[in-house]
């Protein structure tokens, strides 16, 4: 068995790449967990598209202000130096290229950076796009956190997305439970791979050719 990462470990790994003094938007699901693992010496301002710049830690129960929720509907606090704005202010930050990085979940990503994360074509579920396309188009860098395959073992790293696209060519890095992979002009380039998994085995779980970086390393994460 390979040392497949769990959700917290995937978030941890993504958090290691979040730069000091950066402005970051975290999507719902695994991405919001990234906030828990940003190295303590780095200051990061977390933005939420419903109008909060500077999300702080989850408040203690007796310190909840019901008017402060993030885009996922969770109660949040405000970090020092944060501020409140409206949807226009929040999306000026997003589409205007002021968010350094957005970390998003996704269903599929192609080697050229096309990705799909908004419409899983579920039966009996209405469509939800939210701010995904705005973040995908506007953030300076778009990184994805996603399982390498579906539960059924189908690849999520593909040659061409079959789900409806969120944006074309905008994803630059993908954190999976098995690898860290960059989407580049020449396709997928694997930067890190979990211990115990061969390159061939990873390629077999991927739906498009993988190149391996010269300095391809072992992907490790602490117990979480």
């Amino acid at each position: 068995m390979s040392n497949r990462l769990n959700r917290n470990q995937m978030a941890w790994r993504a958090a290691q790449d979040v730069a000091d003094r950066s402005y970051v938007n975290l999507g719902i699901g695994i991405p919001v967990l990234v906030a828990n693992y940003i190295p303590g010496e780095r200051s990061v301002m977390l933005q939420s598209e419903n109008g909060i710049l500077g999300i702080g830690p989850a408040p203690a129960k007796d310190e909840i202000d019901p008017y402060f929720v993030d885009a996922g509907g969770q109660h949040v606090s405000l970090a020092p130096g944060g501020m409140l704005t409206d949807s226009i202010g929040a999306f000026t930050m997003i589409t205007g290229g002021h968010i350094d990085v957005t970390l998003l979940g996704a269903f599929q990503v192609a080697g050229n950076g096309d990705f799909a994360n908004w419409n899983a074509l579920l039966a009996n579920k209405g469509p939800l796009v939210g701010g995904a396309m705005d973040l995908a188009a506007g953030a300076r860098e778009v990184r994805l956190i996603m399982a390498h395959t579906t539960r059924e073992g189908e690849p999520r790293l593909v040659g061409k997305c079959s789900y409806p696209l969120t944006a074309r060519g905008r994803a630059s890095r993908i954190y999976t439970d098995l690898a860290v992979v960059d989407a580049t002009a020449s396709g997928f380039v694997v930067r890190e791979i979990v211990e115990g998994m061969s390159r061939d085995a990873l390629a077999a779980k991927s739906g498009a050719p993988l190149a391996f970086a010269d300095d391809c390393r072992t992907l490790t994460a602490p117990e979480l």
């Binding site: 226009i88 209405g126 705005d134 696209l165």
Partner: protein, 224 residues
């Protein structure tokens, strides 16, 4: 004398009629004008086009309005219910009884801003190359592609704010502002329900929505 205070929800909704387009503020139930929406249901008006970020959380005013069959169409960024049960909107939509125009959230906000500022439309990079760009003009400026999005306006906008004064000035709290300030600009008649209706004018440097945009203010104590 400027005095935009109204004494009842019925007075706040005077003039609303069948077939109207109505903007409703709120994100994750924060900032949703539920008292006005419940009063709107009482009026019996129907065939409404609703412009709101979502289609109504369980138990919300908007969910009740949809369930009551008064809504012909929703323009929103999220049409998904919560949990496994179908929402009133999803039931109506899959049953072919309600229309839907799904818009990326930043584009949604900006289309309302265009309406409020008298602009006909704008070119945004959001959604280029996706299904949500279908039928929209695509155009290259510099080295990037954009799509043309057009303005949204309404007959009524209904907002919830924390504080108001008799001049119509509004102040929001926490993440409550969201679509309120921009929707205020884009409707023929803007109505706000406020937690605190102040006797004296609000702090002129701290007003989030200017009284010029707000026609009626109703005192509805309680949050959020």
């Amino acid at each position: 004398m400027f005095d935009k205070r109204v004494q009842s929800a019925a007075e706040a909704l005077a003039g609303l009629k069948d077939g109207d387009t109505v903007m409703l503020s709120g994100f994750q139930r924060i900032g949703a004008p539920d008292t006005l929406i419940m009063a709107l249901i009482e009026t019996g008006v129907k065939d409404l086009t609703i412009i709101a970020n979502g289609t109504g959380h369980p138990g919300s005013g908007l969910a009740h309005l949809v369930e009551a069959g008064r809504v012909a169409k929703v323009i929103c960024s999220s049409a998904r219910g919560r949990g496994s049960e179908m929402s009133p909107f999803e039931k109506a939509w899959f049953g072919g009884k309600i229309g839907l125009e799904l818009v990326p959230q930043g584009t949604f906000a900006e289309r309302i801003r265009a309406g409020g500022a008298g602009h006909a439309g704008f070119y945004t990079p959001t959604a280029v190359g996706t299904d949500l760009a279908a039928g929209k003009e695509e155009r290259r400026f510099g080295d990037r592609d954009y799509i043309l999005e057009t303005a949204l306006t309404a007959d009524f906008a209904m907002l919830r704010a924390e504080r108001g004064d008799r001049f119509g000035n509004l102040i929001f709290h926490g993440s409550q502002a969201n679509f309120g300030p921009v929707m205020a600009t884009a409707a023929e008649i803007t109505v706000a329900e406020v937690n605190h209706l102040e006797e004296s004018p609000l702090d002129p440097h701290g007003v989030h929505a200017a009284g010029i945009f707000v026609d009626r203010v109703l005192h509805v104590p309680g949050g959020a």
